[in-house]
């Protein structure tokens, strides 16, 4: 047997495990602008439980970002997220005037000048992304969910966080994606490919939802129908969180799940309200808000000097 055939048969014997949950990591920046022209460059780094983002803001305007999965420890995730974009645009840490850390790992961003909670940062980011009409923000993160009210400047007026369990969060969606063996980006569209909208899965705990989903498959539900039932359950769960603080016009969803139309459209349907549209990736709202906070602080310092 030659070496090539041997390698092929080994590969066949142990096929690489496909990770259906793996969402697209990306680096985006404005190629029509040069960061070297900016007077003030600030950076926001959001180290979440599932994903980490680094956002660069030049003179108060979004310039670019990098979004990736959080690694084993917060300092490395923060460094990697920022390095991912700096390498591509030829920037060094010394070129950045101010860094703000946010997210659950915010106090572990080694080069941050300040840490600000994700609640304030999401509100600030949503205000930039959706405009000053944004009043109610639902942040659906990797392992928690937050309902936030803000004023026209993006300052928080009321907030509620539910971090007690992972159901209705990005991690819960990843579990279902792997269970159904369907890439995570396809879950939303496929959830609408059903003849009749099924009842929501009844369990609000991600562990029970998993066994309930398996039970539905065994009972003859198609995969699409199970996904639809799960998306509906997530939507109902986050709406019940929102109900406590109420929903005002100017509704905006941030976080990774905001990219799943299967959940977003069902939330809109239950609330009878459409969310404010944006062209910016909803997953960067926290890091963007952090970078904007940094910009305001720099401006204040400049005025005081």
């Amino acid at each position: 047997m030659n070496a090539e055939v041997a390698a092929a048969s080994v590969a066949e014997a142990a096929p690489e495990k496909k990770e259906f949950w793996r969402w697209q990591e990306n680096t985006v920046w404005d190629e029509n602008k040069d960061w070297r022209d900016a007077k003030i460059i600030t950076c926001g780094i959001d180290v979440g439980s599932v994903s980490s983002q680094a956002v660069l803001v030049c003179d108060g305007e979004l310039y670019g970002y990098n979004s990736m999965r959080t690694g084993n420890n917060s300092p490395d995730s923060a460094k990697n997220a920022l390095q991912g974009i700096m390498d591509k645009i030829g920037m060094k840490l010394e070129d950045i005037n101010y860094v703000v850390g946010t997210g659950y790992g915010r106090v572990n961003v080694p080069f941050a000048h300040k840490a600000i909670t994700e609640i304030a940062c999401h509100a600030r980011g949503a205000n930039y992304m959706g405009g000053n009409k944004v009043r109610t923000i639902l942040d659906m993160g990797g392992q928690d969910c937050k309902a936030i009210h803000c004023d026209e400047k993006g300052k928080v007026t009321n907030f509620l966080m539910n971090d007690k369990c992972a159901a209705g969060t990005g991690r819960g969606m990843e579990v279902i994606s792997d269970l159904m063996q369907i890439p995570i980006a396809e879950l939303g569209p496929r959830s609408f490919d059903v003849d009749v909208e099924p009842e929501a899965v009844s369990s609000i705990c991600v562990v029970f939802a998993k066994s309930e989903a398996l039970g539905l498959l065994k009972a003859g539900y198609t995969k699409n129908k199970v996904i639809a039932a799960y998306c509906q359950a997530m939507a109902e769960r986050v709406v019940s969180l929102l109900e406590r603080i109420g929903v005002e016009e100017g509704f905006f969803i941030t976080g990774g799940i905001a990219k799943n139309p299967g959940v977003v459209k069902r939330i809109e349907r239950i609330l009878g309200i459409k969310q404010v549209e944006t062209k910016i990736d909803s997953q960067i709202a926290g890091a963007l808000g952090a970078a904007l906070f940094g910009y305001t602080l720099m401006q204040k310092q400049a005025k005081a000097a």
Binding site: K155, T157, F159, N162, C165
Partner: protein, 94 residues
């Protein structure tokens, strides 16, 4: 700002809400700090650089159990925290 700390689970909603605007010029001399037998409150500098009270992170997931001594079965009329906070910043949802 109204800050809600707590959770919702199968048995109900357990939130302590603090109107932090009242904490900025606390007229009760931060009485919440000493009133709570479980030492659940703390003064922090919030994201907008105001000094306000909050419920310590480690307490937010166990409110239903932590507050039981102050809330015997059969309802309650007054709580050490809400009584001490004369500006009326603290509210309980259950």
């Amino acid at each position: 700002m109204i800050a809600n700390y707590g959770y919702k689970d199968g048995s109900g909603e357990y939130y302590i809400s603090i109107d932090t605007d009242k904490c900025i010029d606390c007229a009760a001399d931060r009485a919440c700090l000493t009133a709570c037998p479980k030492n659940m409150f703390e003064i922090i500098t919030d994201d907008y650089d105001d000094e306000v009270a909050w419920v310590k992170k480690e307490c937010t997931r166990t409110l239903a159990y932590s507050c039981t001594e102050c809330k015997p079965a059969g309802g309650y009329t007054s709580l050490p925290c809400t009584t001490a906070c004369t500006p009326g910043a603290i509210k309980h949802s259950w």
